[in-house]
Symmetry: none
Subunit: 123 residues, 4 copies
DNA sequence: GTGGTCTAGACCACC
DNA sequence: GTGGTCTAGACCACA
């Protein structure tokens, strides 16, 4: 587990992203209980308030809900999670594609670069 | 031309990115003269100071240089530009690839999604 | 019967309000016996301690009293109940009125909106 | 100007409500500039962070937007404001109506009480 | 022990 | 000077 933060973006935003990815990818299971804020804060070496802020954003997105004194739980709405996952993926693809085109790469070259990257991975 | 700025990142950084892309992709030609800061600032509806700061970063990267009285010019060092372009592209590929993997997509699925995107483009 | 709780206010407070309304409106009859805490707790899917606290507030307000072995009973003091009911209603009217005025509605418009609502009800 | 806070609800929530009312009622004009957080915080005798949190909620609702270094501004989208105002009013009416019915008041009695309140106002 | 709220105060980025 | 972020630490309400 990484818990390292870049200095060019707010920590809370990076926490949102990391936790969100864990939920969308299924590493945190739907309906499961999340570690307590205090524990997570200690683990990430961050002030509990910062984590709280991150969670409040996740709550808005409907990925997480709170039970007053019992803790925080991941949404059981698997459809919503899957839909967000695909949406997130689509954005990533479009963003990547657009940036590569801005850089002057043709569609063919883009696919080539990606497959090359894939082959590196498979070594 | 867009010149719209997201509110979650500094304007000057967004300016750096846009101009940099235009240089790397060749839209601004090597050795060519850049529009005056005043004109660009008016076009982008931005404080000239902000553009100034953007250019000072581009100068540091060696993509732009200033000639006292004649204005700002794009670097003629095509090798440097091409090398930066490839470096930039590699980062984009890696970042994209990593995020998709975090989302739980297999290497095969990633390539599929990209080629699908490519086909959309070709319609 | 609803027994759904908003997450932004303490459950016990919401219980107090619901039960109080049932007493003031006469749905729970003066002098009548209340269901046992255990039963109510099961019905509302709430911790018995939470209900206990709710009832202790209702006892303070004099709407409910406990008889050691026989259970909890609703006050027989109909005058007190009626007086509380009117007081509660007055507060509701004033609160509503004040909020509507803050929203910029004139006295006439407020009455209009209420009568419209009444007509909807009568369909 | 009041700036008094009840102790049974979070201060930031009360700030949200007060400011929201001022926007919806037009007391804060569409497109207008809001006082700086520091000023408002001093005026309300509250920590700036608390106000910041309140504003972040208003921003989500689309009632307010921030310009990086210039300050916060009220939305110019008058349609949106008017629509929110009506929605807010409708909720108020329904909530009021429902509570009165729960208290056992007939539709006629409710209208009577409101008009009585209106007449008090007109003295 | 859980989450929620608030304060005081500091530092940063931006214009 | 403006808003944004973060920390440290305290206290509260709830179950």
């Amino acid at each position: 587990m990484s818990w390292q933060f870049a200095s060019d973006r707010p920590i809370y935003a990076q926490l949102v992203e990391v936790i969100q990815l864990k939920i969308l990818s299924g590493e945190y299971e739907p309906g499961g209980k999340l570690p307590s804020i205090r524990d997570l804060a200690a683990e990430a070496a961050v002030n509990p308030n910062t984590l709280q802020r991150a969670f409040s954003e996740l709550e808005q997105k409907g990925l997480v809900h709170t039970q007053r004194t019992a803790g925080r739980f991941i949404s059981e709405d698997q459809d919503r999670i899957e839909s967000l996952r695909q949406q997130y993926a689509k954005q990533a693809v479009q963003g990547f594609y657009g940036r590569m085109q801005s850089l002057g790469y043709s569609t063919g070259e883009i696919v080539t670069l990606v497959t090359e990257r894939m082959e590196e991975e498979n070594l």
